[in-house]
């Protein structure tokens, strides 16, 4: 039996019904692709838009990179100087050193220059001291005179938002072209498959927008360095490419479907605005209303819990219980009889009590934040840009979980430092001896804060849902394109 | 007393280098039905649009009921109703609503529903269609709404561009009846068409345009059908 007449297998039949894009065509796809490409190149509007986009993205990258360099430099210099000051501090009682404390500085996110994520809105410096788990402070946004939070000024958000919107609109215009000009019949008469026509349009649109992003992307590769940054950047580029092609595809699908409808493009643009700008913010508010918790409420709950345990500088009932326990444990009548410094033991008990409270309360807050995030993620249903923006933030390592990791690493560092200071004081001095100081070089034995390292694998796993939703949008787009292609075949035949 | 409702004097119109209408002069008498015939590209539609005041001639003058379109366009347009080849109405509104709004835009008059319905029925629109959305109308039905507009507006001059193209024989006959209804009420009709047979049936006077000029004029009452066809094809060849 000749190859051409061989019947399709049931699997092939099913595949062809679902995705006629894969059906063999008499007209080569490439020919139609090049025709479509030529048409786009001759379209002054499309070329102007792409040029404008390329300039905007270049500027976004360049200005973002400069801002990032200045901030990173300041944080790095401050971290080094603060560590030097810690190591060279004058001989002082360890608990006084614990109050003197140290400041730790948030590490730079691997792709911070192109995607600042939530970092501008979260503190970058944490003051570590005894008794208290301080929140990070000095967020870059807190010193801005103008701060536009709709849209984005850094490269990646702009690539997803602006380029995404233009991909959608250009896709619509290119998709609607045949419907507008009534050329479908001619093309079909020449043997072009609807599937190829639609696929070529989507590919050309995505390609056009991606090419506009290329100058900035190429430039970015020279500035992305360190750790797994290049790998992250590559994944970001691939997912952005997928996102742009999804939007281009949705635009083409909608264009070929609604090309002649009066409100077609308006409906598409409105849906985009709704999914990217309005719904995420509405859902934020809904999440805050449904699962409410403010930092102040959290602080109040923590303070109330503190009062129930030992207080190193206070006079609580718990202090007396702790004292009785210690006296019993060491079998002495008075704390002054102890060979250890009771004050330091009390300080440590206070630390441990507070540490437990922090762990419990902050875990509760984190659970609430995650529940709020689940509501926020409903925005993913409305369009592919929301999950892409989340994915971009995660890939850049500038998301809430990175901030949390920094916060937790700082807290572990603080607890170790304070506990070491208290233990050293307890073991080497006697109760009431606040004048005691350790050896001159004691403070040099404390290693500097090492910021937590992020791994792409970890980030990818934790952000699998966003990637999955983006892929689902890819499949939905494919299905829409397939349906549009089928419709093109039906209408023109 | 001047009984000519429409008068074109030495009208010229050029699109770029192409002369579309070349020194055209003719007039349309009150109450008459005049057909402007000619092959494709003869300049019929351009002439009709100039008569409707959609754009001005490069030179020459067009006057309607004595008002020069170039000088007093609004007043002159008040006497006319122009129906393009494809009478596009607002498809989301009913026939009655379309008529009401278009009439109001044109004259500022707001008629009652019964008066609107009467005009539509007189124009030949089936009563059951009056309250239906125009999206369900055929071309002939849309044209009838246009004719109803002319009737309701009491237009002195009805300008029709290719009114019978695409109509089935029954609709075309219906259309003829509606045109006579308009003319019977004292209005003049000028219709551009390339359908010599249909024009011969309905018009009192046939004007043939070729390459923007008036080539020949017939009176269908005095010439036989065969003679008209012979003369027409001789001129447009």
């Amino acid at each position: 039996m000749p190859e051409a007449n061989k019947p399709n297998s049931p699997l092939e039949e099913r595949r062809n019904t679902l995705f006629p894009l894969f059906m063999p065509s008499r007209v080569r796809f490439a020919s139609y692709f090049f025709l479509e490409w030529k048409l786009v190149c001759k379209d002054r509007g499309a070329i102007f838009t792409s040029f404008f986009l390329a300039l905007v993205l270049l500027f976004a990258f360049w200005s973002g990179k400069n801002a990032d360099l200045a901030e990173t430099e300041a944080l790095h210099t401050a971290a080094e100087r603060v560590q030097t000051e810690w190591e060279t501090q004058p001989p002082r009682n360890p608990h006084i050193a614990a109050h003197y404390g140290i400041l730790v500085y948030r590490p730079r996110a691997p792709l911070q220059a192109i995607e600042p994520g939530i970092f501008p809105y979260q503190g970058a410096v944490t003051f570590l001291e005894a008794h208290s788990r301080n929140a990070p402070i000095l967020s870059p946004a807190s010193v801005q005179v103008a701060e536009n939070r709709y849209g984005g000024t850094r490269f990646s958000p702009m690539l997803q938002v602006t380029a995404g919107f233009l991909a959608l609109v250009l896709g619509y215009l290119i998709g609607a072209r045949e419907a507008q000009r009534g050329m479908s019949l001619l093309l079909r008469g020449l043997g072009a498959q609807g599937a190829w026509i639609i696929a070529a349009k989507a590919a050309v649109t995505g390609m056009l927008v991606f090419l506009a992003a290329c100058p900035a992307l190429v430039l970015a590769t020279f500035y992305i360095n360190g750790g797994d940054a290049i790998l992250r950047f590559s994944v970001l580029v691939i997912s952005s490419l997928l996102h742009l092609f999804i939007l281009a595809g949705l635009g083409v699908g909608a264009g070929s479907w609604l090309g002649t409808a009066r409100f077609g493009l308006a409906a598409v643009a409105f849906s985009w605005g709704l999914s990217v700008l309005i719904m995420p913010r509405m859902l934020d508010i809904a999440a805050e209303q449904l699962i409410p918790l403010t930092q102040q409420q959290l602080d109040a709950a923590i303070a109330a819990d503190f009062a129930k345990g030992p207080d190193g500088h206070g006079n609580t009932e718990a202090n007396e219980i702790f004292e009785r326990q210690i006296l019993e444990q060491y079998d002495v009548e008075h704390k002054e009889d102890l060979l250890l410094n009771f004050d330091a033991l009390l300080m440590q008990a206070d630390e441990e009590h507070r540490g437990r409270i922090y762990d419990i309360r902050l875990a509760e807050a984190e659970t609430i934040r995650k529940r709020q995030d689940r509501i926020r993620r409903l925005a993913w249903v409305f369009g592919p840009t929301s999950p892409m923006l989340d994915l971009s933030m995660h890939l850049a390592g500038a998301d809430a979980s990175t901030q949390l990791r920094f916060d937790e690493a700082a807290e572990i560092f603080r607890r170790n430092m304070i506990s070491r200071l208290n233990r050293h004081m307890a073991e080497n001095s006697r109760t009431g001896d606040w004048e005691w100081t350790p050896a001159d070089d004691y403070y040099t034995s404390f290693a500097a804060f090492k910021p937590p390292s992020t791994t792409l694998k970890e980030d990818l796993i934790s952000n699998f849902p966003a990637a999955l939703v983006l892929c689902l949008w890819g499949l939905i787009t494919l299905r829409i394109l397939t349906m549009a292609a089928k419709r093109l075949n039906t209408i023109t035949l | 007393m001047n009984t000519n409702l429409l008068t074109l004097s030495n009208v010229n119109k050029r699109y770029g280098d192409r002369l579309i209408v070349d020194s055209l002069s003719f007039s349309v008498a009150q109450g008459s039905i005049t057909a402007l015939l000619g092959p494709n590209g003869a300049g019929k539609t351009t002439t009709m649009k100039m008569c409707a005041g959609l754009f001005s001639p490069d030179s020459g003058s067009i006057s309607i009921a004595g008002f020069d379109l170039n000088v007093d366009r609004r007043t002159a347009q008040g006497f006319t109703t122009f129906l393009p080849e494809n009478v596009a109405l607002y498809t989301e509104l009913t026939g009655r609503e379309n008529l009401a709004h278009l009439l109001e835009i044109s004259t500022g008059i707001r008629l009652s529903n019964s008066d609107l319905d009467k005009a539509l029925v007189v124009a030949g629109l089936p009563a059951e269609a009056i309250s239906r959305n125009v999206s369900t109308y055929s071309k002939g039905m849309r044209q009838k709404v246009g004719i109803a507009l002319a009737l309701a507006k009491e237009a002195k001059l009805l300008l029709l561009d290719e009114p019978t193209s695409g109509l089935d024989p029954h609709s075309a006959t219906e259309f003829n009846r509606a045109i006579h209804e308009v003319a019977g009420r004292g209005a003049s009709v000028l219709m551009a068409t390339h359908d010599i047979w249909r024009a011969r049936e309905v018009a009192d006077r046939l004007l043939v345009m070729v390459q923007g000029r008036l080539a020949v004029e017939f009176d269908p009452k005095t010439l036989s059908a065969e003679e008209i066809e012979r003369q027409f094809f001789l001129n447009v060849r």
């Binding site: 500027f59 809105y121 010193v143 805050e288 709020q372 901030q403 | 754009f55 609503e97």
Partner: protein, 484 residues
């Protein structure tokens, strides 16, 4: 003619399901924006209330010490000879101790129209605890405590101002992009032109009908919001309503201008939505970034490291300590250190006080430098932001609503001044060996917020928008045939 066209347009809108969907969505969005904004105001007010309660608690603690002193029940701890073991009871009479424990609250009252706009109230602190100790308390203040979710904070709040700035123009773009193209492509243009209709009449009618629908919705939502805030007849309320009207008229004219360009349905839609995207999402951000000077945050980041350096030098090295003491005495007490009264020269305390004073200078200088940089930024924005009218409008409306970063910057400056005032009072008492009395404590000057004068920026921006609207209006209404 215009009224007939408006009636026709209303009939067309009434029969459009897409319009009703849009209309219902807009009402829902406006309601949501109002609820969200007012909820934010409640949070702001509650947060201030909690801060006031905390300040009152600190005040009551010292008041109790005074009462105990008066009744002889309990003696406070002697800071010069404190053993570190027993609980420390602060002595509010001692200026050195009072400097630590006597807390004052500097509070930024909510802006008149907070609730309609959020502005930067969720990015900058709205209250500070003021003590005489270094202003590190101002620098180290945590982020505003009303929101816990960083993702939501980064996204920004959807409030009535966002509704007016972003959603209303998007709706106008949807309603107006086809103001002419609809009739041109639908074929009605020939019929209408034959009836004597001109393009400018059609554009005007469309603008009046559709522009008014969106404007009315924005105004009704604003009036409800203003009424709920009790600001309906206030100057700020009236400027808000006027500003909203001018802004939406500007957008109506702009989109009619796009329609007037004469592209087809799809071309008009593409240009209208791209205009919206560029003016609202792209240009404001780019303009901000282009005008933003460097060094806004860096001085604050470096301040702590600087302070630690001074502290070490003064603590470790006797010569440095002496030099620091001499410097502080000369600079702030206008005497040589040797002339400091013995009662003021309390060993340990003075050294620490000197460090505190120097640290305060470093922190204050860092904040001053930061604010100078912010001022440069602000000046640049004032000078150039009119190039992006949407950015200028947002800044103006935030200013009118009392949620502008400029207002919060002024608050920070006033808080620093108040801190300096309180610190100097403590310094003087310390130097003259003065002991604070209960009366001093009760009558300590309170922080008074002085509302800065609203700059002329809103008027400038509004005037610019009006001129721009008139210019586009002139283009829109210039003669052009409806049908060719």
């Amino acid at each position: 003619m215009i009224s007939s066209l408006i009636r026709l347009d209303l009939a067309l809108l009434r029969s459009s399901r897409a319009f009703w969907l849009l209309f219902v969505f807009l009402i829902m969005a406006a309601t949501f924006a109002l609820i969200a904004g007012l909820d934010w105001r409640t949070r702001y007010v509650n947060a201030a209330q909690v801060a006031r309660e905390q300040a009152a608690e600190a005040h009551n603690m010292l008041a109790k010490v005074y009462e105990d002193l008066a009744s002889g029940r309990q003696e406070p701890s002697d800071v010069d000879n404190y053993d570190g073991a027993s609980p420390f009871i602060p002595d509010p009479r001692d200026p050195y101790v009072a400097g630590f424990y006597h807390e004052q609250l500097a509070e930024l009252p909510p802006g008149n129209l907070l609730g309609l706009a959020t502005g930067s109230t969720e990015l900058r602190s709205t209250h500070h605890t003021i003590r005489s100790v270094p202003v590190a308390t101002l620098i180290r203040i945590g982020e505003p405590a009303e929101r816990i979710n960083p993702g939501a904070l980064a996204a920004g709040r959807f409030d009535l101002l966002a509704f007016i700035i972003y959603l209303c123009p998007l709706t106008l773009a949807i309603l107006l992009f086809d103001a002419v193209a609809r009739e041109r492509e639908g074929g009605q243009a020939a019929l209408l032109a034959g009836l004597g209709l001109r393009q400018k009449e059609l554009l005007l009618a469309r603008g009046l009908t559709r522009g008014s629908i969106v404007l009315l919705m924005a105004l009704i939502a604003s009036i409800i919001g203003l009424a709920l805030l009790g600001q309906l007849m206030s100057i700020a309320g009236l400027i808000w309503l006027g500003g909203t009207s001018i802004y939406l008229l500007f957008w109506t004219a702009l989109l009619l201008g796009v329609a007037r360009l004469g592209y087809g349905l799809i071309g008009s839609a593409a240009i209208a939505f791209t205009t919206w995207l560029v003016l609202l999402l792209v240009m404001p951000g780019l303009m901000e970034r282009a005008l933003r000077p460097s060094g806004l945050l860096e001085p604050r980041i470096m301040a702590d490291a600087e302070v630690r350096k001074v502290e070490r030098e003064v603590s470790v090295d006797e010569a440095s300590r002496a030099a620091a003491k001499a410097l502080v005495a000369r600079k702030y007490w206008q005497v040589d250190f040797d002339e400091v009264p013995t009662c003021a020269n309390r060993e340990g305390i003075v050294s620490e006080y000197v460090v505190r004073r120097l640290s305060d200078e470093i922190y204050t200088a860092a904040m001053r430098t930061g604010r100078e940089r912010e001022q440069i930024y602000e000046d640049r924005l004032d000078r150039w932001s009119w190039l992006v009218p949407t950015l200028a409008f947002r800044r103006s409306m935030e200013l009118v609503a009392g949620v502008s970063p400029i207002r919060q910057r002024a608050f920070e400056a006033q808080a620093i001044d108040y801190h300096a005032q309180w610190r100097n009072r403590v310094t003087d008492a310390l130097f003259t060996c003065y002991q604070f009395t209960r009366s001093d404590f009760e009558n300590a000057p309170q922080f008074k917020w002085n509302e800065p004068l609203v700059s002329s920026m809103p008027w400038g921006v509004m005037s610019f928008l009006v001129v721009f609207t008139l210019l586009i209006g002139r283009y829109v209404l210039s003669p052009y045939p409806l049908f060719q």
